[in-house]
């Protein structure tokens, strides 16, 4: 099994300090950077598959050069090598550009499965993994809760989260899969993993290395943020600290007033 996982560095949600800077772009200095949650779930699933079936897990990132720091965290979990597309021309890249660049970079690699996240915790567009599948002309198995490849049959089965539960999908490999939290908790890197990650190879590519016309607008994105404001604050509510039976009466009164019971 050769699995390539697209991993995006995002501000650590645990720091709860994500914000846009004065240039209306993500302020990357405001929070430590981590691998996007959904990408980590995909990476964990990939590592478990390769532990069972043999093969290789590699990661693919598009980020500024400092992105290697975050990639080391994924390598410490067990990914064997990384590909980083870093290019000043990509600063502030929008969704279609990200799709073009990641698809072109993925096309330089050999893989049976290409994994991405369902969405990210920063941009949260949820369009990139599907877009990459379209560029590569590969089947898309989205919102994965379980991934089961059949190497002999050259097919993969995925449980796809649906509104009511899940659908069982099957497609030939190579295929593109978008990953969710339901795949399971990612491992913590072991000390050995952290040591090993230092010597694992990260190949850095520029846009020119990828060839083709990836920046048709010459690095000017038509998608632009015009302004940003804080969310409206909700009017302060009432706090009840009464004993349970009294509290219950107050809740019921509130519900009755608003015709909810």
């Amino acid at each position: 099994m050769r699995i390539l996982v697209m991993t995006k560095p995002v501000p650590d949600p645990a720091a709860n300090a994500e914000r846009l800077g004065p240039d209306l772009r993500l302020d990357r200095a405001a929070s430590p950077s981590v691998v996007n949650g959904n990408d980590e779930y995909g990476l964990e699933a990939a590592l478990q598959l390769v532990e069972r079936l043999g093969g290789e897990v590699a990661i693919l990132t598009m980020a500024p050069a400092a992105g290697v720091e975050t990639m080391r965290k994924a390598l410490a979990m067990g990914a064997m090598r990384g590909v980083l597309v870093a290019d000043d021309a990509l600063a502030g890249a929008d969704i279609p550009t990200t799709i073009r660049v990641l698809a072109a970079a993925a096309a330089t690699q050999e893989f049976d499965l290409l994994l991405g996240g369902l969405d990210t915790s920063d941009g949260a567009g949820g369009a990139v993994t599907a877009g990459v599948a379209a560029r590569l002309g590969l089947p898309l198995l989205s919102a994965a809760a379980l991934i089961e490849p059949d190497e002999a049959g050259r097919t993969v089965r995925v449980r796809r989260l649906s509104a009511k539960g899940y659908d069982v999908l099957q497609a030939p490999m190579p295929a593109v899969i978008s990953c969710t939290q339901v795949l399971g908790t990612p491992r913590y890197p072991s000390l050995k993993g952290i040591m090993a990650a230092r010597s694992r190879q990260i190949t850095t590519l520029s846009v020119a290395d990828l060839g083709g016309d990836l920046l048709p607008g010459g690095g000017q994105w038509p998608s632009r943020v015009l302004g940003v404001q804080p969310p409206p604050s909700r009017a302060a509510g009432r706090t009840i600290t009464a004993a349970p039976a009294d509290a219950a009466r107050e809740i019921a009164d509130f519900l009755a007033e608003r015709r909810l019971i």
Binding site: E18, P139, P222
Partner: protein
């Protein structure tokens, strides 16, 4: 040239989803205010019912009876039909922020290279530019953004508009499917519904939510009981889902479902930003939590400090008593 907005309709159990109706209303309004037009697309094995429902909002609906949609994934087929309509001058494609809607948006973006305005909570014209408002970074900020190009793909969140019919039903045009999906479509071998799946969280008027504080799967019996009494549906925080107490389909929040009920009642939920992202459009919020400093206090209309295992049953008894007498 005036814009032409295409609404990608979604179907659940043979009916148009509430979100699709909202998006259609938004699109009809945008068409009206720009001298443009709006049309809808339904791709389904049996599209007629939903197509007629969508036509209540839009002057024209293209209805594609796609046998393949029954046993293959939907998005590559829907994206192919949408692409076919682009020849008719479509400038903006609007899809819902659902797994299917985002798949269509992503597939079309990859295929066409159009810009994407993600997670629109509202949209207006500023001159010829479509400007959308989006709640970003787990609710920490609201952005206004645009695409400086004649065409764009827009994904729309629940509540961007209230669904209001146009008063004059539109024309439904039936079509044969285009044939080839935009990417090879995966086969659907089986569709599995989990317990409690009949009740749609997104469409519920009352949502009762259990968090880590309910302590285990048994704790959801109390949540279910209150939901039953209030005519509502049970939801959960991610902590409860990750613990395996309740299926993911019940999760509310940034990575779960977005609900906008008349009443949101939570038990043992702390109110993290990522959870709020899925419920802040609720009209009335009641939270029961034993920690007086829980962040959920900031968004609750009624914040009850107490043990959910005492207040919950007392509330249940109180409601029963009022109904009985």
């Amino acid at each position: 040239m005036p814009p032409t907005l295409l609404v990608i309709g979604e179907v659940a159990d043979g009916h148009l989803t509430k979100l699709s109706a909202e998006i259609a209303t938004l699109a009809a309004g945008l068409a009206g205010s720009s001298g443009g037009t709006a049309l809808g697309l339904i791709v389904d094995a049996a599209p007629d019912g939903a197509a007629a429902e969508l036509a209540a909002y839009l002057p024209r609906v293209v209805s594609v009876a796609s046998a393949a949609a029954a046993d293959e994934v939907w998005a590559p087929h829907a994206a192919a039909e949408a692409r076919r309509l682009l020849d008719e001058g479509v400038t903006h494609v609007l899809a819902g922020v659902t797994n299917d809607g985002r798949d269509v948006a992503g597939l079309l973006c990859g295929a066409l290279g159009w810009g994407v305005l993600a997670n629109a909570a509202g949209a207006t014209w500023e001159g010829e530019r479509l400007v959308v408002e989006a709640v970003v970074l787990a609710g920490k900020a609201i952005t206004r953004s645009t695409v400086d190009a004649p065409s764009a793909i827009v994904t729309v969140t629940p509540g961007a508009a209230d669904a209001v019919g146009s008063g004059a039903p539109g024309r439904v045009e039936s079509r044969e499917p285009a044939g080839s999906p935009v990417v090879p479509a995966a086969r659907v071998l089986e569709r599995v519904a989990e317990a409690g799946a009949e009740a749609s969280l997104e469409e519920a008027n009352v949502v009762v939510v259990g968090g880590r504080g309910v302590g285990g799967p048994e704790g959801f019996e109390l949540v279910d009981e209150l939901a039953g009494l209030l005519g509502g549906v049970t939801g959960a925080s991610r902590a409860a889902v990750d613990a395996g107490w309740i299926p993911y389909a019940r999760q509310i929040g940034q990575t779960g479902k977005v609900v906008r009920p008349a009443l949101y009642l939570s038990l043992g939920v702390s109110g993290a930003m990522q959870h709020r992202a899925g419920m802040q459009g609720s009209q009335n919020v009641i939270a029961i939590n034993r920690d007086p400093d829980a962040p959920v206090a900031e968004i609750a209309d009624l914040f009850v400090v107490g043990d959910l295992f005492a207040v919950g049953p007392a509330l249940s008894a109180e409601i029963r008593a009022r109904r009985g007498g």
